[in-house]
Symmetry: D2
Subunit: 404 residues, 4 copies
Amino acid sequence: MSAPTPNESDERLGVWLVGARGNVATTAIVGARAIARGLTGTTGMVTERAPVSRLELPPVSGFVFGGHDIERESLLEQATRQSERNGVPDGETLATVEDDLERIDERIEVGTARNCGAAVSAESQHLDPELTVGSVVEQIRSDYRAFREDHGLDRLVVVNVASTEPELDDSDAYDSREALERAIEEDDGDLPASVLYAYAAVVDGHPFVNFTPSTGNALGGIRELAVEKNVPHMGRDAKTGETLVKSALAPMFAGRNLQVLAWEGHNILGNKDGLVLEDDANAAGKLSSKGELLESILPDIGHNRVRIDYTPSLADWKTAWDYIHFEGFLDTEMKMQFTWEGSDSALAAPLVLDLVRLIAHADEHDEGGLQPQLSSFFKAPLGVDEHDFSRQLEGLTEYAERHS
Amino acid sequence: MSAPTPNESDERLGVWLVGARGNVATTAIVGARAIARGLTGTTGMVTERAPVSRLELPPVSGFVFGGHDIERESLLEQATRQSERNGVPDGETLATVEDDLERIDERIEVGTARNCGAAVSAESQHLDPELTVGSVVEQIRSDYRAFREDHGLDRLVVVNVASTEPELDDSDAYDSREALERAIEEDDGDLPASVLYAYAAVVDGHPFVNFTPSTGNALGGIRELAVEKNVPHMGRDAKTGETLVKSALAPMFAGRNLQVLAWEGHNILGNKDGLVLEDDANAAGKLSSKGELLESILPDIGHNRVRIDYTPSLADWKTAWDYIHFEGFLDTEMKMQFTWEGSDSALAAPLVLDLVRLIAHADEHDEGGLQPQLSSFFKAPLGVDEHDFSRQLEGLTEYAERHS
Amino acid sequence: MSAPTPNESDERLGVWLVGARGNVATTAIVGARAIARGLTGTTGMVTERAPVSRLELPPVSGFVFGGHDIERESLLEQATRQSERNGVPDGETLATVEDDLERIDERIEVGTARNCGAAVSAESQHLDPELTVGSVVEQIRSDYRAFREDHGLDRLVVVNVASTEPELDDSDAYDSREALERAIEEDDGDLPASVLYAYAAVVDGHPFVNFTPSTGNALGGIRELAVEKNVPHMGRDAKTGETLVKSALAPMFAGRNLQVLAWEGHNILGNKDGLVLEDDANAAGKLSSKGELLESILPDIGHNRVRIDYTPSLADWKTAWDYIHFEGFLDTEMKMQFTWEGSDSALAAPLVLDLVRLIAHADEHDEGGLQPQLSSFFKAPLGVDEHDFSRQLEGLTEYAERHS
Amino acid sequence: MSAPTPNESDERLGVWLVGARGNVATTAIVGARAIARGLTGTTGMVTERAPVSRLELPPVSGFVFGGHDIERESLLEQATRQSERNGVPDGETLATVEDDLERIDERIEVGTARNCGAAVSAESQHLDPELTVGSVVEQIRSDYRAFREDHGLDRLVVVNVASTEPELDDSDAYDSREALERAIEEDDGDLPASVLYAYAAVVDGHPFVNFTPSTGNALGGIRELAVEKNVPHMGRDAKTGETLVKSALAPMFAGRNLQVLAWEGHNILGNKDGLVLEDDANAAGKLSSKGELLESILPDIGHNRVRIDYTPSLADWKTAWDYIHFEGFLDTEMKMQFTWEGSDSALAAPLVLDLVRLIAHADEHDEGGLQPQLSSFFKAPLGVDEHDFSRQLEGLTEYAERHS
């Protein structure tokens, strides 16, 4: 249990989570409050390790949480279920942050479910589907604004941790700010929720992080807007488990000039993420960002498949089995296999906290647009071609050394 | 099957292998000759991949092989056994290089077995144990010299690929050139074969590579000598399998601030290397260089054990099972496991060829002493603290870019 | 290498393989001829192990092979490709049986491809699709008859080892001999090839084995016919790899009253079998017989999924990863995982030879109808509810003891 | 959660655990009390599954626990540590049985530590080592007797669940009752604790179960005594994890006539059992009973090794990796690997309860001597050669059917 770092700014930082009652958000909130109360350490947080820890970053204990969600189950109910089912958080930790969770739950507003596919269940509540796109955007902006004002926040960071949406068919159609804003005005029914949340954040200067494979700020129009407004944003699809391992291992095969004949990945998990991904449409984006990484590091790869299967009994525990068939000297065929068994939320949550701190730092230093120094956090880092985890991390190290 | 690179110098390069009839040497020789005859590609060779391939390096097809050994079984017999038992090389490749193997076998001289422990079998032949250390050194120098002269070589690189020796008890006693040379003069019975081969090479200006965990050029006295004579040398213990994977994976755990509670490695293999390592004395050095890497990358690691067991039916195929128990956010315990199944010789042999080419390049450019740009090849790179495989490789990339 | 058993009858036994140029058939033929020529032992053959080996069974060396196929590639070409790609058989064995393969290939007739789905490639040749079902049946019967007469055979055993067909939609419609024969007469377009081969065999008194998940002799009409004609037959879907392991392991969980929460199986393979199973229709039957076994042994199982993915580089090597999540005392969740890496053909081929010998034995002893003593060979043993491998084997042991 | 069976006798049954504060005993007691209080089901108990559940067996809820130990840490402290460290039992279950544990702890007497090797720690308390062997036996008998009288028990079953002792050098020297009793009289310093506990039980007619690899009732002298006194007893070394899997899988390789070339097992665990087994002397017996099973089922096995390593972070969780290298048809080499991750105590504890019930049943039916119907519970079942788990279970099934 390592102690939090001393170098921390004392501004009031708001953290707005889209999907605030999901497992990643819940775990991040529980973790932040447990750290604030001295109940747990910061293992798993990249910003608590040198040299990144030498940056002057907003303290996790000062985060003011709010968010959107379409589920009615409260934060505390969700956390209790996770504790009972997954053992994360443990009962003692949960008991100590119960009041915090109840207070934060009151700050969660009803969100939109536009084009969210299988992520929308029968029990969901969401903004009236009859509303125009423009009105939805207005509502979201107003929710962000009210939160910031009500809590006297110096800064508000928006993070999308909602369930994966189906891919947007024609994302090129929104490649400029103008095209995107026209689509909003003209009530374009294809725009998905993630884009509306991202637009509402960036247009009003709130830094934005897309933790999911959903479209969000990957859209050309939002990227252009972020540059014009000088708002820092980054994404997409946080690299937490199997793909993290791939980004550490694949460079080894490349570096030794070994020919990967096949890399077969099979993931099983039992949380809502797994359930949503049973739907082929929702899975497409995720599988694509998981697969592209290998093609990028190993351009000559022979075969590359990723499967994600829903296995209810595993709850939040995700197990990946990867089988790597490769050829070496004298045409010798060899094999590597690995299994990775991790709590999806426990792996993701500290990265949410890291990203909030680092994007707030960029915002404070007027570094708008994409944030390539954060590439190590993402499966498909926007604007970055490097997928080798060690080299991506060096980008962060250099950033930290430059600023400290 | 990638074609050999065009940028190649045309000097006559001698390659002297200590342990020339062992499986690594045999596979390297078979591979070099198969490449020369256009039978196989260069998969597995780091020097055939950009940007290293842009260096002007001696062509593998021009290597002139010779060496020492204490075994009587000929190169061709050894290669035939490997082909039948391991499938590497395949029968067709072997048939085409048979004559080459017979010719090269005639250039293999009887070696010394001083302090080689379990590596010396009843069938071994070796230099008279009654000889003084000084006479053994003279014999080795004379073997190197004669080979160079007989074949009109421009340069001779010596590579130790012999079986692992027991560790030298008091290596500090030979920490200077003076102390080492005095020990040789005074017929010090503790000096092991690997040191004598290394000394004989460096004192006469032959670049030296220690591919094994044996002491060899790691000794202070030899390092001093190499600086004085400006002879390039490097080692030790080539990183071919399980430890290679560790050096790619451990930085991932460090980089994500995950706490490794235990990293248990279990290796099984069935070749002579495995048999020799059944002897605790011979295994000590190997286990130490395998283990140190983790302590270096993960200084807070809780438990770290490596086992090597002899399993005859596996022949040259080495299987490692590694179990990694780690803790993340909110004290969550998680696990990763991997198995690695590779042909030990097929993994090692191309690196022998790479190292010969790269150390010859250094020698040609008058770059004497240790060669840190070669650290990615070794479990315990002499003079280098960096164990992260990606960063080690960057050292080589930078070297290649600087020279091309 | 165990020697063949002495107790062997000396009758001339014909073995007709449907799918005679496929990998299982090819390996079975190569193996039988290699045994006949003293090149290999009988490891992997159940009939060569006591007490089954004490039965008086037809010797493998005396098998006279013939068959149907829709592929043009000759037996020798197929065997050569398997040898080069999979290493099974090895080059030396192949060379010695080459002439045998060429001679046998001449006895392979063009087969039918009715309702075979993805198993029919562009290069296939097959009986005119315009032929009536009745004419196809006549042609097959005539092929069987001619083979028996031409070679002076005492008995002809027909074994279906062709690629898996899509499942028959309404198999109940052919539940009686009468219904089936009427369908043939009325040129019913739904009847698949496997049924026609089985019908043609049984109606003329040839013992029949269905080694595949295809419908074949599982149809009620054929089972009735076999009883009437007193012809021994058995099936279906030989148990060679992952499912074999399941049938040995699942009883352990049941026997210890452990609750299996999920059993996830993921198979990857690269031969034609794998390619054909990429097609959902062709895969359905296979997945169903693989899955049913667990439901039978573990009626309370929580989740049970089997996947089969085509991974070309693996060729005939099939790797299965199974993940078993189970609950024990005090609601403790635990896990078992296994991987199985086998050559599909090398596992299947000896069982083909075993089944031929054992069904010929039954025929010789006038034991018509289903053969429950052969249940251990099948994933979905016709007429048998027992799936515990040890208990199934006991059935065979008892049969052997009764007859010897 | 299955409900306890209705068929239960209502006698008062005492259960005396040697090693009563160890993890297996603690988990068995917690489980029995949790069942009694309706907090948990009987998953993992063989006697709760048909047909064994149809026997009239003493109810677990009526067990009256007592025992010996040499550790001072109380049952509740031990259970609390297990709950916090391993998660078994969970906090809620523990809270409900707290009072039971405190009450039972008062019935635990100080035991003997004779010849227990590494199992005796500095903190241990034990019977004065100066006492004669005869006096120790008297003390144990008196403890058993007092417990039985104090609690008005109808029957007392003694189960040895203490840490593994070093092997007895010359067990043949105690091959008869006479030789054993003479040794006790003559104060023979070689007799280990397990033998004294077993003797004290059997001589006074208490059924005895040896759950460990220690010598105990395996000694010829005790077996003779048990026959003379008609006392049921059984052992040794409960089959809970890796060896259980072996006894289910090895018959599959045998049954298919596959040649196992090597079976390498590597176990890692972190509880006291693991720590004690770090000592080579204490490990010998365990490794021997783990290894013998394979030799028995697979007499032609090529190589067979079992390792047990202590890995503190795993606490009570035991992970085994087994690698099976085997040869099939046409000399094809194939592989199976498995990992097994279980809570050692959660696997063992229900079997303790099962064995108590079943040996009490035998005693009630005057079935003295060894109990072959219990062979499925043991790695080295006394007096039984059958190691195939399915067949061993059939023995129990037949026993159950005969008695119900």
